[in-house]
């Protein structure tokens, strides 16, 4: 008889496939995981506590640092919450700019995911392709607001910068090019046999489980649940545009992959329409009182970030600072299902499953 014993293995916190500082303690029986305990908090900066001593304009840069792969949507959720509390009107041009940057951000974010996911699985070159395309989006953002990751672009009542000259045209060119690139990526990876054998049927769950775990974004839609907040509870100008919500049916890593690729296409579709309808003239800042003091009360707003439902719960006491500010971070909620998915899987699938959830640790730890 071969003597076997349980092996306790520490994955992370410094491990490239954890996409940040995330640690999982796994119990292994041979190659098979029998128990997984995620440990997080390595990137906890206490954003919510800090926010209680900052006014709303000052909190915006902090939101950039939560989901740093998708800072624009974080900007938006905070501004949107405050605007809603104060009942502010946003000029159309500003709202268009917001929508365009949010969709560009979704493209950039999904590209990062696509590249790193394939890198996790063992394909190096898609990572380089994805990042070279993402670089173009970051370049566009850099032109627009002077930063590549931490934009601090939106303000309560509008946006800080109007589009520079020729910027809209450059976005149009990018969208056009991106269509071709996407086809190429799809062609290159989606049918690849090695890839398929790594992701098909891995990390499977059904719709009921997904809903019970409160999953959102592609993690929820891969089970066939049609739940995209842009459609289900439209905010911004999303009800003006035609787009589909891609859903899967198997709830495995492969479906999540396909959905994100399809979402890239849909984002480009929204962008095309938005760029076409972009108003030629107008304000980028609405009428905002000098001191931003939302009336006493409470609000929860939510939008669809690339990772799912990002929500902002503000309790205001009528002061310039929030009494309590809580972010519902999609990565944090989505990650909860990980220990359940890992049990019974082999060690190699850990990376596939974790990558498939698409987390950003800045957001998990907040």
């Amino acid at each position: 008889m071969i003597r076997t014993e349980e092996l306790l293995l520490n994955v992370g916190p410094q491990h490239p496939s954890t996409h940040g500082v995330f640690r999982i303690i796994v119990k292994l029986d041979g190659e098979v995981i029998t128990e997984a305990t995620p440990v997080m908090g390595y990137l906890h900066r206490g954003t919510e506590k800090l926010a209680e001593n900052l006014n709303f304009t000052q909190i915006i840069p902090y939101t950039d640092r939560m989901d740093y792969v998708s800072a624009m949507t974080n900007n938006y959720v905070l501004c949107h919450a405050v605007e809603k509390m104060m009942g502010l009107e946003i000029p159309e041009r500003a709202e268009f700019l917001r929508l365009i940057v949010m969709e560009l951000q979704r493209v950039a974010s999904h590209l990062v995911w696509w590249g790193t996911y394939l890198l996790d699985i063992g394909a190096l070159s898609p990572f380089l392709y994805a990042f070279s395309d993402r670089e173009r989006v970051l370049g566009l953002f850099n032109e627009l607001c002077g930063a590549r990751l931490t934009y601090n672009y939106m303000r309560v009542g509008g946006v800080k910068w109007d589009a520079p000259e020729g910027w809209i045209d450059r976005v149009k060119t990018f969208v056009k090019d991106m269509h071709f690139r996407l086809d190429e990526y799809h062609n290159l990876v989606s049918g690849n046999e090695i890839f398929l054998s790594r992701v098909k049927g891995i990390g499977k769950y059904d719709a009921e489980t997904a809903i019970s775990y409160g999953l959102s974004g592609a993690n929820l839609r891969c089970t066939g649940v049609q739940w995209d907040l842009r459609k289900a509870e439209p905010y911004s100008l999303y009800d003006r545009f035609q787009f589909d919500v891609p859903v899967g049916k198997n709830g495995d890593c492969y479906d999540r992959y396909l959905i994100r690729i399809a979402e890239l296409e849909q984002s480009l579709r929204i962008l095309e329409q938005a760029l076409e309808q972009f108003p030629g003239d107008g304000d980028t800042m609405g009428k905002v009182p000098r001191a931003i003091r939302p009336p006493a009360g409470e609000i929860y707003v939510r939008i669809e970030s690339p990772r799912g439902e990002i929500g902002c719960h503000i309790v205001s006491k009528g002061k310039a600072e929030p009494y309590r500010l809580k972010f519902r971070r999609p990565s944090f909620v989505n990650l909860q299902i990980l220990p359940k998915l890992l049990v019974g899987e082999s060690m190699t699938n850990l990376v596939t499953i974790l990558g498939g959830i698409d987390i950003v640790l800045g957001e998990v730890d907040c």
Binding site: G41, H44, K49, W227, G297, Y300, K317, R324, V333
Partner: protein, 345 residues
């Protein structure tokens, strides 16, 4: 027996006899009081012949303190009486045997209750007169609600012990009906709110809903404050009832209000695309709210986070550990009075 019992309650709450009738229907009985006298649901005219109402005014601090003390005493007395009565009933005592207990309670509570005064005997259902309240008023009202709830509980216990007679206690209200501004147009979510509140009262417990109002700023979101002890059951109802079917829990937040803690849940029905905001309050010294992790898995880490950052205990949670801060951290950083143990960190 039940007659006795009712009189007892009434006196404990300083409620004139005429109001008795309105509190009569068993299902609408005093247990409901905390709900009715709270949040914006101010009874229209003080139709109950409620003497104190017209003289409603802001209390000074001393008065408040006095009232608080008085109610505390009243509550204690009521509890004692209830216990006594329960014991008596357990002994198989008849209504006569329970009488002394009731009487003693009555006697004991009479004086303090009079001091407590000020109860707008909010007893009809959902009078939709609403108005904005100031913070102090809110705090006072909340406190009053708490007291009333306690009293009602005691009364209910007593009633149960004495043979299931309905408890007729109405709250010691602070809701001030005198200065209500004209009513706002009813919210489109009002029927939904009324419906869910009625369901919770009917299927969970009479006293399950402490407050129910519409959060206009937040897309007219129906907001309910659920009695802490009833939350586990209420959560189950929210998820499992075919009509509510809130299978998706969007968000869980914890808020430190300095006077108390609050855990805020946003259960959602994805098919109907509607949901609720549910609040559960707990005291600050040893905050505790039943865990809903067995009902919604979403709550798992969210509750851990609230435990970690606010120190709220969630009995029933499978694995309540710190999640953000290190395991040996001292204190709960999101509390308003948090002072770091080591300022250098």
């Amino acid at each position: 027996m039940s007659e006795e019992n009712k009189r007892d309650d009434r006196s404990a709450e300083n409620k004139p006899p005429e109001s008795e009738t309105s509190a009569q229907p068993p299902t609408e009985a005093g247990a409901e009081a905390p709900v009715e006298q709270t949040k914006e649901e101010v009874t229209e005219p003080p139709s109950e012949g409620d003497a104190p109402v017209p003289e409603r005014r802001k209390e000074t601090d001393e008065e408040k303190a006095a009232r608080r003390k008085a109610t505390l005493e009243a509550r204690e007395a009521a509890k004692a009486a209830a216990a006594l009565a329960a014991a008596e009933a357990a002994k198989g005592g008849s209504s006569a045997s329970a009488q002394p207990a009731g009487e003693s309670a009555q006697g004991a509570t009479e004086a303090p209750a009079a001091a407590a005064a000020g109860g707008s005997s909010a007893s009809e259902g959902d009078a939709p007169v609403r108005r904005k309240e100031t913070d102090e008023e809110k705090a006072a009202r909340r406190k009053a609600a708490l007291e009333a709830r306690e009293a009602a509980k005691a009364a209910a216990a007593q009633a149960a012990a004495q043979g299931g007679a309905p408890a007729g206690a109405a709250g010691v209200g602070e809701g001030a009906g005198a200065d209500a501004p004209p009513p706002k147009p009813p919210s489109p979510s009002q029927p939904r709110l009324d419906r869910v509140a009625a369901m919770l009262r009917e299927l969970v417990a009479e006293d399950a809903v402490e407050e129910a109002y519409i959060n206009e700023a937040n897309d007219h979101l129906p907001t309910l404050v659920i009695k802490n002890e009833r939350w586990g059951q209420a959560a189950r109802l929210l998820r499992d009832h075919a009509e509510l079917a809130c299978a998706y829990l969007r968000n869980v937040s914890g808020v430190d209000y300095e006077t108390h803690m609050e855990v805020v849940y946003y259960p959602w029905n994805m098919n109907a695309r509607e949901g609720y905001c549910i609040k559960v309050r707990t005291d600050r010294e040893s905050p505790s709210v039943a865990s809903v992790t067995p009902i919604w898995e979403t709550a798992n880490w969210n509750e851990r986070e609230i435990y970690d950052l606010l120190g709220v205990d969630f009995p029933g949670h499978p694995d309540l550990r710190r999640i953000m801060m290190p395991d040996d951290w001292v204190g709960h950083p999101l509390r308003k009075d948090y002072v770091p143990l080591d300022p250098e960190v």
